[in-house]
Symmetry: C2
Subunit: 231 residues, 2 copies
């Protein structure tokens, strides 16, 4: 089973509603929640072992001055030694997937040229892409979590499922991979979950499959139009 | 007189030949060398006061994972409070100049698309540009210091003068502003410097003025060609 390591950085995580919410979502069999500010006596070898054992590595943090909080930078500067990442030409993280979960109090539309922040999240995250490149990791699209506290309960539940998919679904985020993930998730719930969770996921799954059916119908229509054109 | 504040970050500055060299260059009447890793009991109000009193603010650091060492990020996260930078709509740093002095063990040509690092320094420094934008500061071009230890003594002296100009010369870096800076520098030396320094700067100045004369001659020639064309 694919393993995901979530490197979380937040200096006041207990006061962060967003991080507490994501923490609930990350309670998955194959995901490790690793909060850097809570590490006592950082052991570089142990941290590197965690990275090596993961198939997907996520950096998760709130945007502090367009970057991660200093806690994550300190962890990077200590754990990601040159020799570990690329120094001896062995590239132990090669081929692993690298993702970024970024929480922000601002709306996403602010992150573009000419808007309030004037830079895209992609541009601001260039240093992390450069690290992933250097380690020969595969870069996933950023998972932004803007303005969590404005979300309705339903939007929050939607976010939770999307977050879980970001952590454990096979990439790319295609319809097929999505469907496989949902089906597997439902099977797991049949075995060991409470009735509330199950109902919720069944709802999502039925929504999702109905959308797939719509797409199928659209495809059929498209085929018919094509055939008409050819005749 | 214009005041420059140099916020320096390096966790092992005493072992850094490059930083020790730049430190000698920064011994100027109107420049303050402020090493963040050496601050005891960080006083936010005092740090903000230093920023307010400066006309030009420089962040100076070695590239650690395509960014500043965690010491500078920690300083940013603590000192640059939202309220100080833009929260109350007063923008106390508005109009000040903001520069970056970046030392790296790699050659500059590595920092471009397709080369070893695949990103330009400008791209990697996006978060700092975003901070300067937010504070309404004027952004200076980056001052890169690549591969200091490969430089000959003459190249090092050249670097030192360029660094001093980056710290204190009026921007933009035009021929006129350059000349004014050199002339002022020489006057100061006449008053209070040792003979070695003076000889060195006279050499630079004479080189520089001879290049200006060459340019003047070229301009004259160009004018003559134009006149010929018109006749």
């Amino acid at each position: 089973m694919m393993k995901t390591l979530i490197i979380v950085s937040h200096p006041e995580i207990d006061n962060s509603q967003t991080q507490q919410f994501l923490y609930q979502g990350a309670k998955l069999e194959n995901a490790i929640w690793h909060h850097v500010e809570k590490i006592n006596n950082l052991d570089v070898i142990n941290e590197q072992k965690l990275l090596i054992e993961a198939d997907r590595i996520i950096f998760q943090f709130p945007l502090y001055w367009y970057s991660a909080p200093s806690g994550l930078k300190s962890w990077e500067d200590t754990v990601l030694t040159r020799n570990f990442i690329y120094g001896d030409k062995t590239y132990p993280l090669e081929g692993k997937e690298f993702g970024l979960v970024i929480t922000t109090g601002l709306p996403l539309k602010d992150f573009q040229k000419g808007a309030a922040e004037n830079f895209t999240l992609d541009e601001l995250m260039t240093p992390y892409r450069a690290i992933a490149d250097k380690a020969r990791m595969k870069i996933m699209p950023i998972f932004p979590v803007p303005q969590f506290w404005y979300k309705t309960e339903l939007m929050q539940m939607d976010l939770l499922v999307d977050y879980q998919r970001y952590l454990t679904q096979e990439m790319p985020d295609s319809l097929n991979n999505k469907q496989t993930w949902f089906e597997k998730k439902l099977q797991e719930l049949d075995l060991n979950s409470n009735i509330e969770d199950k109902k919720f996921l069944e709802l999502i799954l039925s929504n999702f499959t109905s959308r797939i059916e719509e797409l199928d119908q659209l495809n059929d229509t498209l085929e018919m139009v094509k055939e008409d054109d050819e005749n």
